[in-house]
């Protein structure tokens, strides 16, 4: 069983709210849910829609075909009709008036009026939709009771009930696999939850779509979790404040999207030469410049790994799904402090905004390993040196003010072991070597890409980040049809873990990169690092994410 519901309307009509009702009702019934949003960069008007897919099996991607369209306006019917499956139906108000076999012209507005509030029309539509699938409304009512009270609650409940009575069940559903034990969370929220779990107490950012969701969720928790969430005057201040807080001794983070990150890059280099731990979330949207503010793309990879002038150690982790978003964020904080360097976690609008039912995160798996030094960091002459030269390039780090008479000096200039400005050729070389050695150390603990499909397939597909879900589903479908294919989806991406890829590349007949950009950025990085060329690319850069069906079709049509 695998159904897909589309909720469409103009911004401000309640697409989001109706989407939440549908997904919460289904999720709490015990179904697996995957929902994603398609929205325009405007506050009112335009056309927005949410897709809510549900199944008795785990889901990791969205689907294009639609079984039910909840149309909050006439335009929704026009735009999406052709996506309907043969038995598909449109839940819409009688006002849309067109008589045909697809449109269920229901008295939704009237039901809302009878319920006492014309604004609850969406709830009547949700009631009708649940009935189409033969799904009880009890869980929806439970959810409505949690978020509303008084007259508005009563109106919503009444509307759901009215809507439910309007139609007959037409879709076959299997019972949910069990009681609901999952959480329904999106990528940004999972990053934010990871941030709190990791003990970050300072987050500064300037609002920018689609990264803002991280800040919004952290802001909601700020008083209870004792985390400072500062809306900075610009992205430059945001990252500098995070660096100041990190130097001051707390775990600190900033986040933005491509254009905002572009403003932060000088400070990224400062974090590198200053050896100040920092976690940055870069939630990509299509660029360049302002690009497509509310759409998705994976085109910042090369920019991120090459951010800032000069050379310095940097780690880049592409997150693959919401589980990964949580655990990799907590890992990023530990790595940033261990290696005293910036760590960028890369996401994108698709992953930032899609909701997925997943196992609750296991907080006992999260460790906070701050790697701070104590008195042992003081040298035999009684002086602490922030940048003392060590075997592995990592200098013991103490927090200013915490050890009597010891000073902590960080510097963006080239500096000596105490942090003071130097122009010595010898010290410059020693310091560059020291910093780059940390990268060699880091390479020993990189995580290899996730492998899906056959152990050693004839066709090797490589991808990164949020392409994971759609590609996993497409790969499994291909393998189930007897096609020999292996997919590698990179998470740790800079430095590039090479072992697994090189091993599989030896026997693969064809290597194809699949990316949400126009130039094949991962392909270039792989070739640069391993000397291996991907012979073919499947690329998408229309501002939308690959669906699994689309990938399946393109792999079959273009590659096999």
């Amino acid at each position: 069983m695998d159904y897909n519901i589309l909720i469409g309307g103009s911004a401000g009509q309640g697409v989001d709210t109706v989407g939440t009702f549908v997904e919460k009702a289904l999720k709490r019934m015990g179904y697996y849910v995957f929902s994603n949003k398609d929205y325009m960069s405007r506050i009112r008007g335009g056309h927005n829609f949410t897709l809510v897919r549900f199944s008795d099996n785990p889901l990791c991607a969205h689907k294009d075909d639609v079984d039910v369209i909840i149309a909050l306006n006439e335009e929704t019917v026009r735009v999406h009709r052709e996506k309907l499956t043969p038995n598909g139906k449109v839940v819409c108000d009688v006002a849309f008036g067109k008589e045909d076999d697809k449109n269920l012209n229901l008295p939704l507005k009237e039901a809302a009026k009878n319920a006492g509030n014309p604004k609850v029309m969406g709830s009547a539509a949700v009631g009708a939709t649940l009935k189409l699938f033969g799904i009880q409304t009890a869980k929806l009512e439970e959810f409505l009771n949690e978020v509303y009270d008084g007259e508005i609650l009563a109106a919503n409940l009444k509307a759901v009930e009215e809507g439910y009575k309007m139609v007959d069940t037409i879709f076959q559903t299997t019972p949910p696999p069990g009681e609901d034990k999952h959480i329904l969370i999106n990528g940004n929220e999972a990053v934010a939850l990871g941030t709190v779990a990791a003990g970050c107490t300072f987050y500064s950012a300037y609002p920018m779509t689609p990264a803002t969701g991280i800040m919004s969720y952290l802001a909601k928790l700020q008083e209870d979790a004792n985390i400072v969430v500062e809306q900075a005057e610009d992205e430059i201040a945001a990252i500098i404040m995070a660096l100041g807080a990190s130097y001051g001794g707390v775990r600190a983070m900033t986040g933005s999207s491509g254009g905002g990150f572009a403003l932060m890059v000088e400070a990224m280099g400062f974090a590198g030469i200053g050896e100040i731990p920092l976690v940055v979330a870069e939630v990509q949207r299509p660029g360049p410049a302002t690009g497509l503010p509310t759409r998705t793309e994976q085109a910042d990879l090369k920019f991120i790994i090459n951010c800032s002038q000069g050379e310095f150690p940097l780690m880049v982790i592409a997150i693959r799904d919401v589980q990964d978003a949580f655990y990799q964020t907590t890992r990023a904080f530990n790595l940033a402090e261990k290696y005293q360097m910036p760590v960028v976690i890369v996401s994108d609008q698709y992953l930032a905004d899609y909701y997925q039912t997943v196992e609750p995160f296991d907080f006992s798996k999260v460790t906070i390993d701050r790697q701070l030094a104590g008195e042992e960091a003081i040298n035999s002459d009684g002086v602490y040196r922030r940048y003392s030269l060590t075997e592995n390039g990592i200098s013991p780090r103490i927090i200013p003010g915490k050890i009597e008479n010891q000073l902590v000096f960080v510097d963006s200039d080239e500096h000596d072991e105490e942090g003071h400005i130097t122009e010595s050729a010898q010290v410059r070389v020693e310091m560059v070597n020291k910093r780059m050695k940390k990268l060699e150390e880091l390479k020993k603990e990189l995580q290899e890409p996730v492998k899906v499909g056959e152990e050693k397939g004839k066709t090797l597909l490589v991808a990164w980040g949020s392409t994971y879900g759609p590609l996993k589903e497409a790969t499994e479908r291909l393998v189930s049809e007897g096609i020999s294919v292996t997919s590698l989806i990179f998470g740790d991406i800079w430095p590039l873990p090479e072992k697994e890829f090189i091993e599989l590349a030896k026997t693969a007949e064809k290597i194809v990169n699949i990316e949400g950009n126009a130039t094949g950025q991962l392909k270039d990085i792989i070739r640069q690092q391993t000397g291996v060329n991907c012979v073919q690319s499947i690329l998408k850069y229309d501002g939308r994410a690959f669906s699994s069906q689309e990938l399946y079709n393109r792999i079959k049509g273009e590659v096999l």
């Binding site: 005057e233 200053g274 960080v410």
Partner: protein
């Protein structure tokens, strides 16, 4: 009493920075501060080298960015005394946006701006405070823009401490620094200082002849009077002293969990504490 050591500097002999550094050491010593309890955040420029020449904690960051860094250091650890040492290019030019918004933020830091009305390190271009009409190698027609008035801007933005001093008047400068450090909230101290190499107009003598301590009867509580004083300049005399001062809750005062209890840096961290937030996603 603690000792703030002496280092070799990259400043020109006779530079006004020496007077400022000397006053800073005296101010910290007289306030009984210990070096490890003090952090100087600085950006780039000759003034920004100050933390290298005094034995305290230092955060020598990027051009124009000393103020947000200093503010965040204080938020992370409210036990530290945080001072920003900066030039007028660093603060009013490159960092102008941060200057404005940190006045609004009102974090408890002292901000000392070494204002010599010229870009010295880059060899003599106009700074935001160079007088209109003054010629330089770049401003060959003379400076076309209005001279930036940091004190008037700070007062207008609601700064809680606005003062001016002169590097050639050590006693005055020490007293202003002490008052700024002790003030609860963001404290701007604009310090007039000659650049002996590149500013041939605003020389030591030029300032000496014009600066005059604000009359003792002046009470720095009236915003309008302060604003008027901020506009006194040049041959009319340049008032030095505290122009404006008010008590307002600081950034940390306004956030209950920061105000109460130990500094953020000392809070115990436990991932398990965050587990409860998963209920938001049920």
């Amino acid at each position: 009493m603690c000792e703030f050591k002496t280092f070799d500097t990259a400043w020109c002999p006779g530079c006004g920075n020496f007077g400022i550094l000397k006053a800073l050491k005296r101010a910290l010593t007289e306030l009984g501060k210990k070096p490890h309890e003090v952090v100087i955040s600085s950006g780039i420029g000759q003034a920004a080298k100050t933390p290298h020449y005094i034995s305290v904690n230092g955060f020598n960051g990027l051009h124009g960015r000393a103020v947000p860094a200093g503010a965040a250091i204080k938020i992370a650890n409210k036990d530290l005394t945080v001072i920003v040492e900066s030039g007028e290019g660093d603060t009013y030019g490159e960092g102008g946006n941060h200057f404005i918004h940190n006045v609004r933020r009102n974090v408890d830091i002292a901000h000392f701006v070494h204002n010599n009305q010229i870009y010295g390190l880059t060899k003599g271009q106009a700074s935001p405070t160079t007088a209109k009409g003054q010629k330089t190698g770049i401003q060959t027609m003379g400076v076309l823009h209005e001279q930036f008035n940091p004190l008037a801007v700070a007062i207008t933005m609601g700064a809680t401490f606005v003062a001016r001093s002169f590097s050639g008047n050590e006693e005055h400068l020490v007293s202003m620094m002490k008052a700024a450090i002790e003030h609860k909230g963001y404290a701007l101290l604009d310090i007039m200082q000659p650049c002996i190499t590149y500013n041939k107009v605003n020389t030591f003598k030029w300032y000496k002849d014009r600066v005059k301590p604000i009359d003792e009867s002046y009470s720095p509580t009236d915003k309008f009077e302060a604003y008027k004083l901020a506009h006194q300049w040049g041959d009319d005399g340049i008032p030095i002293g505290i122009l404006y001062k008010k008590e307002e809750p600081t950034y940390i005062d306004k956030i209950e969990f920061l105000k109460q209890g130990e500094p953020l840096v000392d809070r115990k961290l436990d991932p398990k504490n965050a587990e409860k937030y998963m209920a938001d996603f049920r």
